[in-house]
C-alpha cells in the first residue's frame, strides 16, 4: 500500500492510496473514526445558589434556561486541543481510576452572569492557556437577567468507540479512483454530458467534448445512462481517493500518523497471536 498526499491542511486531508484493497482502506477509515484518542469534557459540576451580581446590583442565581444535562452534553462536544504525548488515559494513569491528576485531566472553569450568551471561548483552562478551545464561537447557552452559570469541568482522554464526543474525525470517506473515457468515434458532441454531470467532469474544447476533471467523478453513471454508447466510467479497485476532516483537537497530519501506527500495531498483535497457535 502506498499513500500520496493530494492536499493537507490543518484540519482536512485528501490522500491518494494505491496498491491497496478495499478492506485495508476501510480499516483505515474505521480506525480514524473510532480509535484516535482525544480530550473531551467528561465531568461537569454546576454551582448553585447566588453566584454573581448583575450590573443593576441584582443577585444572579446559578440557573439557566437549558437543563444542566443539556449544557454538560454541549460542553462535551466542544473540541479540546489535545497533546497526545502529554496525557495519559485516566484508567492507565498512576493512581486509582476515581482520582484525577494533571497528567490525565484538564480542568476548566466557566463563570458568566446574564444577560449574555455563553460561548466555548469563555471556558478558562486551569492547566494553561494552550488548552483554550480554538473554536471560540460555539454557543453553549443564553442567559437572561438574573441568571448565571458557574461550573467546573474536567476533560479526559477517550476514543470515538466510547462516545461520539471523542471522535476526532468527520466526513471520513473514500472512493475508487475513477477513470472516465469517451469513445471519440461514437461521440456526437451533443454536450448533454456536460450539462448533466453534477461534478463537472466534462468540458468542451475546440468543439469537442473532453474529460476535464476525471478525479471529480463520483461514479454516479448519470452520463452513462444518457450516453451508453460512447462514455465509459470505471472505478479502479486498487486505487482510492480518501478524504477526512478533524474537529481541530488534533491536526490532520497527527491524526493520520497516529491511525497508521495504531493499525500497524494491531495487525502486528494479530500476527503474533496467530503465530502462537499450534
Amino acid at each position: 500500500m502506498q499513500i500520496d498526499v493530494l492536499e493537507i491542511e490543518d484540519t482536512r486531508a485528501k490522500l491518494l492510496i494505491y496498491d491497496a484493497d478495499p478492506f485495508i482502506v476501510n480499516a483505515l477509515r474505521r480506525t480514524l473514526m473510532s480509535d484516535i484518542p482525544k480530550m473531551a469534557i467528561e465531568e461537569v459540576d454546576f454551582h448553585l445558589g447566588p453566584i454573581g451580581t448583575t450590573e443593576g446590583g441584582r443577585v444572579a442565581d446559578g440557573s439557566s434556561p437549558l437543563f444542566d444535562e443539556i449544557i454538560a452534553h454541549r460542553l462535551g462536544l466542544i473540541p479540546i486541543p489535545t497533546d497526545l504525548k502529554r496525557f495519559n488515559r485516566r484508567d492507565e494513569c498512576d493512581h486509582e481510576p476515581e482520582k484525577s491528576c494533571p497528567l490525565c485531566t484538564i480542568t476548566y472553569t466557566l463563570h458568566k452572569v446574564g444577560p449574555c450568551t455563553v460561548y466555548s471561548g469563555d471556558l478558562e483552562p486551569i492547566n494553561g492557556p494552550e488548552f483554550r478551545p480554538r473554536d471560540e464561537l460555539i454557543p453553549i447557552v443564553e442567559l437572561s437577567e438574573g441568571q448565571a452559570i458557574y461550573i467546573t469541568a474536567n476533560a479526559v482522554l477517550g476514543t470515538g468507540k466510547e462516545h461520539a464526543k471523542w471522535q476526532v474525525t468527520s466526513g471520513v470517506g473514500y472512493k475508487y479512483y475513477p477513470s472516465v473515457t469517451i469513445d471519440d468515434s461514437k461521440c456526437t458532441d451533443c454536450r448533454r454530458c456536460i450539462e448533466i454531470c453534477p461534478e463537472n467532469v466534462f468540458e468542451e474544447m475546440d468543439g469537442k467534448v473532453v474529460v476535464k476533471n476525471p478525479e471529480n467523478c463520483s461514479l454516479c453513471n448519470t452520463c452513462v445512462d444518457e450516453c451508453p454508447d460512447s462514455i465509459k466510467v470505471e472505478g479502479d479497485r486498487t486505487k482510492f481517493i480518501f478524504s477526512f476532516e478533524t474537529d481541530g483537537s488534533l491536526s490532520a497530519e497527527e491524526t493520520l500518523k497516529y491511525a497508521l501506527q495504531h493499525l500497524a500495531d494491531r495487525f502486528e498483535a494479530l500476527r503474533e497471536s496467530v503465530s502462537e497457535l499450534k
Binding site: 454541549r74 464561537l137 443564553e142 437572561s144 471522535q167
Partner: protein, 63 residues
C-alpha cells in the same frame, strides 16, 4: 432550541458557524454562498444551519 454544537450526521462542529451565517444572511448574502465560504460543504451539515429555528429566546425567561 439553540443551534446544535455538531452536525447530527457526520459530527462536524457547526455551532460556531451559526452566528456568522445568520448575520451574513440577514445582511442580504445568499445562504448557499455563505455556507460555501464557511467551509460547510456536505449537505448533512448545511441542513443543520439552513433548517435551524432559534427558539432559545422564547424559553429564556424561564429557569
Amino acid at each position: 432550541m439553540i443551534i446544535p454544537v455538531r452536525c447530527f450526521t457526520c459530527g462536524k462542529v457547526i455551532g460556531s458557524a451559526y452566528e456568522p451565517f445568520r448575520n451574513r444572511v440577514e445582511n442580504g448574502e445568499e445562504p448557499a454562498k455563505v455556507l460555501d465560504d464557511l467551509g460547510i460543504t456536505r449537505y448533512c451539515c448545511r441542513r443543520m444551519l439552513l433548517t435551524h429555528v432559534d427558539l432559545i429566546e422564547e424559553i429564556k425567561p424561564f429557569s
